[in-house]
């Protein structure tokens, strides 16, 4: 499966999700979710804990089975594909758990990211996080929370992904690291679309082009213009 180019003809739309319904076992988590992502957008997903934000990202990335609905990237259907095939298509999921492969070194973690994508340009990805350059030989289990988050993102950047699905990146991190990540996301946006699930409203308001608010498994609002993307507006939907 060749990596996808940026933009589908005409619409500028990279990812389209229609009528997504997902269950965990017997309990339904997502109800008729519709959203779309443009090739150069930063889209944020906000909502309370348990609203279904992670489930949404996981479903798009191929880690969960859908009850019904379609997910297309540049008109190519993603539903039913294996998660690793979707990753190779240029859609990378960065999970919430801040877990890296602790028994492997930072370099080996990157090496695994390079294996499938054939992109061994570690300098490029660590340029975003210069701190990692000094930590290449360190076992990833000894990294701090912030360093681990950086490694996870760096790893995902290998292979020039077109879409990054990032799950609560700033959770539990110090403000200085959060601002660093904010700038990194702006930089990344020049080459890729970002979907960021976040509880950190100031961050969202600073960088997001559009915001989806999720409540109890449904999209309850879509904020599409700069004026309405304000913390007090977002809070209303939580």
């Amino acid at each position: 499966m060749p990596p996808l180019d940026g933009v589908a003809a005409g619409t500028g739309e990279l990812l389209a999700v229609r009528g997504l319904n997902v269950s965990y076992g017997e309990s339904k988590v997502l109800f008729d979710v519709n959203l779309h992502i443009g090739a150069n957008e930063i889209v944020a997903c906000v909502g309370r804990n348990g609203a279904g934000k992670s489930t949404l990202l996981k479903s798009i990335a191929g880690f969960l089975k859908l009850n019904s609905g379609t997910v297309t990237c540049n008109r190519v259907n993603l539903v039913g594909r294996m998660s690793y095939d979707i990753a190779k298509m240029g859609i990378k999921y960065v999970p919430q758990d801040k877990k890296v492969f602790s028994d492997l070194t930072v370099q080996e973690n990157l090496e695994l990211g390079s294996y499938a994508t054939k992109d061994y340009n570690w300098d490029r990805v660590t340029d975003y996080f210069p701190k990692l350059k000094a930590l290449m030989e360190r076992k990833a289990g000894f990294l701090s929370g912030g360093e681990r988050q950086m490694l996870m993102i760096a790893r995902a950047l290998l292979g020039h992904p077109k879409l990054l699905l990032i799950d609560e990146p700033t959770e539990g991190l110090a403000p200085s690291i959060v601002s660093h990540l904010r700038e990194v996301f702006r930089e990344l946006n020049k080459a890729a679309a970002l979907v960021i699930v976040e509880q950190n409203l100031p961050l969202v308001c600073a960088i997001a082009n559009r915001v989806y608010a999720l409540k109890e498994g449904r999209i309850v609002a879509e904020l599409a213009d700069a004026a309405s993307i304000r913390a007090d507006v977002c809070e209303k939907y939580l």
Binding site: A61, F63, M82, S83, Y84, D85, A87, K88, K92, Y93, V94, P95, K99, V100, F101, S102, D103, L104, E108, N109, E111, L112, G113, Y115, A116, T117, R155, A156, G159
Partner: protein, 289 residues
């Protein structure tokens, strides 16, 4: 107890421990990566032994037989993985236990069908003995131990120096993250399963000259392999090595002291260790996916 008796006891224990180790690695790796209990490894052990027997009969060369045993065991495990295990990876642990037990029992039936129930002897490839501290020690047993250490070194190199091995170690920690990097974990599972099967086949082939080959041989070592795996802890190669040799020595030296209890001593040790560490010496906790 004389030094000679002790020496031969230790060597015996080392060789039997080596056999246990080769089989336990398979169980441990399969659990660590795929979160399955692969009881059918004992079938590949029997397959290795029986192929060694037949090929030795045909070619006259036991080492060729062992090689053949390893290859066929690998092929059989590949077939089982593709046909059966692939469908049950996401299910819970007990599922794989029951299914693999079915494969084991069914496989024993297949063996009975082709080879009958009469135990078969396999000649020892080297009848030479070497003198150590005044004891005559069979060179073959020393070779078995040497092979086990070579395998350990090989596995270590594989897991630490090859990208596939690193992917497996990463997968043992978190398969989903490995998937997310675009790596085909399904293929990783198959590779691991074949390695496990081949190693079990090697164990069977090496063990064959030391015992009689019979259809229920897998069931006879079953308990010991389990105890090794439980004591060492599922998912740890180092733990498997250590506990394999502990169990080997206990069985061997124990039988010099008081034969009937020797077979049961590992069981007692296992219980003791489980009392203190319910996941074994180096076991990894069962991480929920």
């Amino acid at each position: 107890m004389s030094a000679q008796l002790l020496t031969s006891g230790v060597i015996f224990g080392l060789s039997i421990g080596s056999i246990f180790f080769l089989m336990a690695i398979g169980l441990s790796l399969c659990f660590g990566l795929m979160r399955i209990i692969s009881l059918d490894q004992l079938l590949y052990y029997s397959v290795g032994a029986y192929l060694t027997y037949s090929l030795t009969l045909v070619t006259g060369n036991v080492w060729l037989g062992v090689l053949g045993g390893v290859v066929v065991a690998g092929i059989v495990s590949f077939a089982v993985e593709r046909l059966i295990f692939r469908r049950i990876y996401e299910r819970e642990l007990t599922f794989s236990m029951i299914t693999s037990f079915g494969v084991l029992i069914g496989g024993i039936g297949v063996i009975k069908f082709f080879w009958g129930v009469v135990p078969r002897p396999v000649p020892v490839p080297l009848m030479a003995q070497i003198d150590i501290i005044g004891t005559e020690v069979p060179v073959y047993r020393l070779i078995v131990v040497a092979i086990a250490f070579l395998v350990y070194a090989g596995i270590w190199l594989f897991l630490n120096r090859t990208i596939t091995g690193k992917a497996i170690r990463a997968g043992i920690e978190n398969v989903e993250h490995v998937e997310g990097l675009g790596i085909n974990v399904s293929r990783l599972f198959t590779i691991t399963f074949i390695i496990a099967g081949a190693l079990s086949g090697l164990a069977g082939g090496l063990h064959a000259p030391l015992i009689m080959v019979d259809p229920s041989m897998g069931l006879e070592v079953l308990a010991f392999v389990f105890m090794v795996v439980i004591i060492g802890g599922l998912g740890s190669i180092k733990g498997t090595l250590i506990s394999a040799f502990i169990v080997g020595q206990v069985v061997s030296l124990g039988s010099l002291i008081y034969a009937p209890l020797a077979q049961m001593a590992p069981f007692a040790i296992m219980l003791l260790i489980l009392l203190v560490k319910p996941t074994g010496l180096y076991g990894s906790p069962l991480l929920k996916r």
